[in-house]
């Protein structure tokens, strides 16, 4: 499946397809889900916007970096388009011989995704209004570069 996926991520199927290898004793995962509230307001869903080409390349680069740094297998996906409460928006899977590297790789991968991926959340509220979530400047941004 493409790393940037239209609609909710089929996270159960993706985890099954990432089936543990004989040499791996640990599989760590992180699944990001759409929650029903944000800063005190009731949220009914999120539309994810993306620069798809760059986002896919960033995910591939993060996968490679995590694999190299931690000596693990890593697979990453992010959803775009309209998601409802409870849908899976981002999935990190890391397989390793031992749990320490799996947990560390999983944590570093989701932090890199949140710092680097050109993706934007537009929340839909219960009253029908929408608003983009206040983001963070992309990591590595050179203001005068």
């Amino acid at each position: 499946m493409e790393r940037i996926h239209e609609g909710p991520l089929p996270w159960v199927e993706l985890m099954a397809s990432f089936a543990a290898q004989p040499a791996e004793g640990a599989l760590a995962s992180f699944a990001g889900l759409v929650r029903n509230h944000h800063q005190g307001r009731a949220v009914s869903g999120i539309r994810y916007h993306a620069h798809r080409g760059l986002a896919a390349r960033e995910l591939a680069a993060i996968e490679s970096a995590i694999a190299d740094q931690h000596g693990v297998r890593c697979a990453l996906w992010h959803a775009v388009g309209d998601l409802a409460v409870g849908d899976c928006s981002v999935l990190v899977l890391v397989g390793s011989a031992h749990r320490a590297a799996a947990f560390a790789g999983c944590r570093d991968a989701i932090e890199a995704i949140k710092a680097r991926l050109p993706i934007w959340k537009e929340e839909r509220f219960a009253d029908g209004s929408t608003a983009f979530v206040a983001g963070v400047p992309r990591a590595g941004l050179q203001k005068n570069g």
Binding site: G32, H49, A50, H51, G53, L54, A55, H78, S89, V90, I110, I113, K114, R116, L117, P118, I119, W120, K121, E122, F132, V133, A134, G135, V136, P137, R138, L141, Q142, K143, N144, G145
Partner: protein, 81 residues
């Protein structure tokens, strides 16, 4: 030269469109485009120091030269996850 500005995420609201054509001098860089865009949207001007840019699917900096037909993507502060 004529380029296309791709307004992503909240940038769609700043300019009211997904894509915006710009007419620029032949020697234009990303910075030249930024200076023209600053005159079009106060919301963009307010947030601009926090933006990144991509030119034809590659990350670009402000000194990157533009070319006829280029696609310049505005990358506002991100909210992945």
């Amino acid at each position: 030269m004529r380029i296309t500005v791709h307004c992503l995420g909240p940038a769609q609201r700043w300019f009211g469109v997904d894509e915006l054509p710009l007419e620029l001098p032949d020697t234009a860089t990303v910075q030249t485009a930024i200076e023209q865009l600053l005159t079009l949207s106060p919301a963009y001007a307010e947030t601009e120091p926090m933006l990144a840019y991509a030119l034809d699917e590659q990350w670009a900096d402000r000194r990157t030269p533009l070319h006829e037909g280029a696609v310049l993507a505005l990358i506002p502060p991100i909210s992945a996850g």
